[in-house]
């Protein structure tokens, strides 16, 4: 895994654990980890994660737009790796570019 991806994954793992708090599951978070089945995240946990992403990356990483493409019934199938890729692509593109458009 490239270094940028690894560090994004590490940061994201920290945010996920902060969101889950007492419910944090005792497992290694990988790119293949799913938010719903593996991590047991509820939809409101994902929203809470969005707030942390915004605090960390600002508007460069448009999480709302990214998940708008998923909708409530499929957001649970989201894998950590998909979000890592979205973050890295958004950061590489810089503010203003809508990397989220079309990614699914």
């Amino acid at each position: 895994m490239p270094a940028a991806q690894a560090s994004t994954l590490a940061e994201l793992t920290e945010m996920i654990n902060a969101v889950l708090g007492d419910f944090a599951v005792d497992q290694v978070v990988t790119r293949d980890t799913t938010f719903q089945d593996d991590l047991g995240m509820e939809s409101i946990d994902v929203v809470s994660l969005a707030g942390r992403l915004q605090a960390r990356y600002g508007d460069t990483v448009n999480f709302a737009h990214f998940v708008a493409k998923l909708d409530l019934t499929t957001v649970g199938d989201l894998r950590v790796g998909q979000l890592v890729d979205h973050i890295d692509a958004s950061l590489a593109a810089g503010p203003g570019d809508e990397v989220g458009a079309g990614s699914r």
């Binding site: 509820e42 409101i44 929203v47 709302a64 708008a68 409530l72």
Partner: protein, 290 residues
């Protein structure tokens, strides 16, 4: 997580800035999205309408109601006026001073009408999904449902049954709903709420959109809403239930954006609705209270 101190408690909020703030023309009203009672959170709006509204140029504000989601859960303070007070304080604390469009799901719609009755001059329009203005008949039904769920959840096997049918996450949420109903005064306070006068509600002149699921018990509220507010546009979505917002978000978006264009003069040229329609074969949410 974004939190804000309002009306003496901590509320979890999310704000989405308009995607294209450089568009010509006057500033758009702020869309404020209010979720339903007991087992709902802002997630129902976040994953359905929030981003399309921001994309269409509306500054969009979401929050978890007191006692819900990631907001604080005080032991008391669950009358309609408390929820309207929270909304007023949230708007002030968020620096929202201009006109607003209120969106409410289930009891969230009732809070929207409650706010509109108090501050009619600020409200540019109300969208109520599976909801009603705060009338005595509606509040009687809300009380009935609250008490039914409050009585059922603590029963032996109730949570296990939900877990077996709908999975561990649903069971965890139902357990939290049970704690909310048991640990707070909501089942007593909400039904005893002081209601706005019929005159104050009937005096509303802003456009109103009411959406119902054809298979929901709420659909028969539509006539009373139209009697009270004749400007109301009512849309009944075939085959949908009380959870229509999360089950059929694309249909909801279609009705909302048509209404914004035709009744509010707030048309949009952007493609506001992502094409993500999913067939719905899920059971209704058994712990959802209005």
């Amino acid at each position: 997580m974004t939190v804000l101190r309002a009306n003496g408690i901590t509320l979890h909020t999310q704000r989405l800035d308009p995607v294209d703030p450089s568009r010509d023309g006057p500033a758009r009203p702020t869309a404020v999205l209010i979720h339903g009672m007991a087992s709902d959170t802002m997630a129902s709006w976040y994953f359905t309408l929030a981003e399309p509204l921001a994309r269409a140029g509306f500054p969009t504000l979401l929050y978890d109601l007191r006692g819900h989601g990631r907001s604080e859960r005080p032991a008391t303070g669950y009358a309609l006026d408390d929820f309207v007070d929270d909304l007023e304080a949230l708007l002030a604390g968020s620096g929202v001073t201009g006109p607003i469009l209120l969106f409410g799901n289930s009891f969230g719609g009732t809070i929207a009408f409650g706010y509109a009755a108090r501050r009619p001059e600020r409200v540019a329009g109300v969208v109520a999904v599976e909801s009603s203005p705060p009338t005595p008949e509606w509040m009687r039904r809300v009380a009935e449902r609250l008490h039914r769920v409050a009585a059922r959840l603590p029963q032996e096997g109730a949570l296990a049954g939900i877990g077996a049918r709908r999975g561990p996450i649903a069971a965890r949420r139902a357990a939290d709903t049970g704690r909310f109903l048991a640990d707070t005064s909501i089942t007593e306070e909400l039904p005893a709420s002081r209601l706005p006068s019929t005159e104050a509600l009937a005096a509303l002149r802003c456009p109103v959109l009411c959406l119902y699921g054809a298979r929901s018990p709420m659909v028969d509220l539509a006539d009373a809403v139209r009697d009270l507010l004749p400007q109301t546009r009512v849309a009944v979505l075939p085959d949908q239930r009380h959870s229509v917002l999360v089950d059929a978000p694309e249909a909801v978006r279609r009705h909302v954006f048509a209404w914004l264009t035709e009744q509010c003069g707030l048309g949009t040229t952007t493609t506001a609705a992502p094409t993500t329609g999913q067939p719905d074969d899920r059971p209704p949410h058994p712990t959802t209270v209005p």
